[in-house]
Symmetry: C2
Subunit: 352 residues, 2 copies
């Protein structure tokens, strides 16, 4: 009997341990499936707001050709485009700072910039250019920059054209890029070439992999951040392929922004362009692509840390006091927007 | 008889044509050998004046280590080394212009440069730094640049140190580069790291191949130019591995330089350092390595064209009115000094 009792006990405990193992397995399976479900849900939600980056940002008015892009790349780095040979597009949009700079406001050829230099990576995809939308597209931006004092500072468009016409390699490169033009070296073509180059500056990141269906492309923390980003309301304005750059918005809906940014002066934003009262403190919503690489933040570069910038946005745009954890997770998500600079744009050209 | 006459005639003409062929061959052979002899002679003469570039320019006070070089590369491009976050070493020494710039005088953080920005490629090999030799070596140059108004413009060395200590990646990189220092982020170590990077900026060219014995590395025109360069007297001062950078010399031995350069102001050169009358208008003889890529020319960037610069040097330094052909050949030779930028220095780093 002793023996049979022992066997029975062993059997029973065996059954129990099998039952326990099953329970554990079941719990684990539920967890895995629920994570997978949650991931699917998050992906579906994210797809409502965002889309993967395209390969380039084409323009009907300025078709992208390899000749134009290569010429534009040279001109982008060409300091002789400025009145004093000191400033190029790359001065305020430098490779080493992800095509932006660490100064709150940069110095142009003849004057200090009025606002922070944003990165030009992906900028061609924004619905307007500049913080206050006073440039239609990248070509318009480049064209106006030729003669603006805080950028290239030339006395006239003609003076730049004359300068380039004296450099034989440029004569040849413009001829190749604009084969149908009798006189290809014009300010408009300079702008078109630079624009074509900028239209190729696209920086896909792990977030694009996620949007294309690979839910493992983001870490759990980044996914929590993405979820929070959507739930607290950031994605209401920061959406589309560029996570921003699709609309205007007032900076400081719940409170004046300068309460938190400690800005040195108050910028009336788009009001300075339109003089409409409702445009006061209205700015273009920035793309958040590569935001972790392009401090300092806001139109005046008044905030140095991304964590602080996120928290301030919660306060003044959403009327929410984001917790430390929420800020940390959102920042983790934003870091997943740091993409790869295209190879051709990673090394500057040697100039004629 | 007719037949035998005919045969005789054929034989004779055959002999003559063989003799003629030999003569031609002989003439050709003589030419080839005399070219080879002339090449050998030119090489022997060139070796008296010049030597191939070394792999780097080592310093007993600042041994080159990979960790220092990599940190120095970052700091060289780091605009946060300047008082206003706008200027880095690379501002006045830009990759796209062979580590120089096209402006006669560049703008620093707080003031305009007094003289033209020379390339930093190979500069570590020069016997002193700066046009007037007021910097001992590249480390001294970098250290002084931290607080000079026309370069980085910081109020003190401590202010730069404090700024870098707040960037975690730099704390780590300095620790690795200077493992024996308790507090590795110091102005002296910033200078040492930048110096170590600059000591690797060596740009061998076809001229080095020639000096190593490959007389075909230069074209006939370039060889004529080299011969002329030596014969008219350029190599008296422009010699050594850097084709310059070995001595001081008065600019304007036969005539005041400003008669030709049309300089806006007269620079007294090394006199401003020593206050010795014999140092008036004395400058460091520039290295001519990469000279074709680093216009404009002279201490004040007053001359835009290399042809004109060469002709002016003939006038004021040698008292010679070089012919168009001599200038053309010398310029051809100078272009053979355009070397390859080391791979690590061809692409800027992405900064912390």
């Amino acid at each position: 009997m002793r023996k049979s009792v022992l066997i029975s006990l062993l059997l029973v405990s065996g059954v129990f341990s099998v039952a326990n193992a099953d329970k554990e397995l079941l719990a684990k399976a539920k967890q895995v499936f629920s994570v997978a479900d949650a991931d699917k849900e998050l992906l579906a939600k994210a797809k409502q707001f965002f889309s993967p980056l395209p390969n380039s940002f084409p323009s009907a008015d300025n078709p992208i050709t390899p000749q134009k892009v290569e010429l534009g790349r040279l001109l982008f780095f060409e300091r002789r485009l400025s009145v004093n040979n000191m400033i190029s597009c790359a001065t305020c949009h430098a490779i080493e700072y992800y095509y932006a700079t660490p100064a709150p406001k940069d110095m142009g050829a003849l004057a200090l910039q009025r606002r922070n230099s944003p990165t030009v990576l992906n900028t061609a995809g924004q619905f307007v250019q500049n913080w206050i939308g006073n440039r239609k597209d990248v070509e318009d931006q480049a064209l106006q920059a030729l003669t603006a004092p805080a950028t290239l500072g030339n006395p006239s468009r003609e003076s730049v054209e004359e300068k380039l016409r004296k450099i034989p390699q440029y004569v040849e490169l413009f001829r190749k890029a604009f084969p149908e033009d009798k006189e290809p070296i014009t300010a408009e073509n300079i702008a078109k070439a630079i624009g074509a180059f900028e239209r190729t500056l696209v920086t896909p990141s792990r977030f694009d992999e996620f949007l294309k269906g690979n839910t493992k492309a983001l870490t759990p923390e980044e996914k929590r951040g993405l979820k929070t980003f959507i739930e607290v309301g950031c994605a209401t304005c920061h959406n589309g392929a560029l996570v921003g750059g699709t609309m205007y918005q007032k900076f400081g809906i719940y409170e004046p922004y300068w309460n938190y940014t400690k800005s040195e002066s108050i910028d009336e934003g788009r009001f300075t362009v339109t003089k409409n009262e409702e445009d006061k403190y209205v700015f273009r919503v920035s793309s958040l692509r590569n935001v972790a690489m392009t401090a300092p933040y806001f139109h005046d570069g008044s905030v140095a840390s991304l964590e602080e910038a996120v928290w301030i946005m919660g306060k003044v745009q959403l009327g929410k006091d984001l917790t430390k954890e929420q800020v940390r997770d959102i920042v983790a998500f934003l870091k997943s927007l740091t993409g790869n600079i295209p190879k051709e744009a990673r090394t500057p050209p040697i100039l004629p």
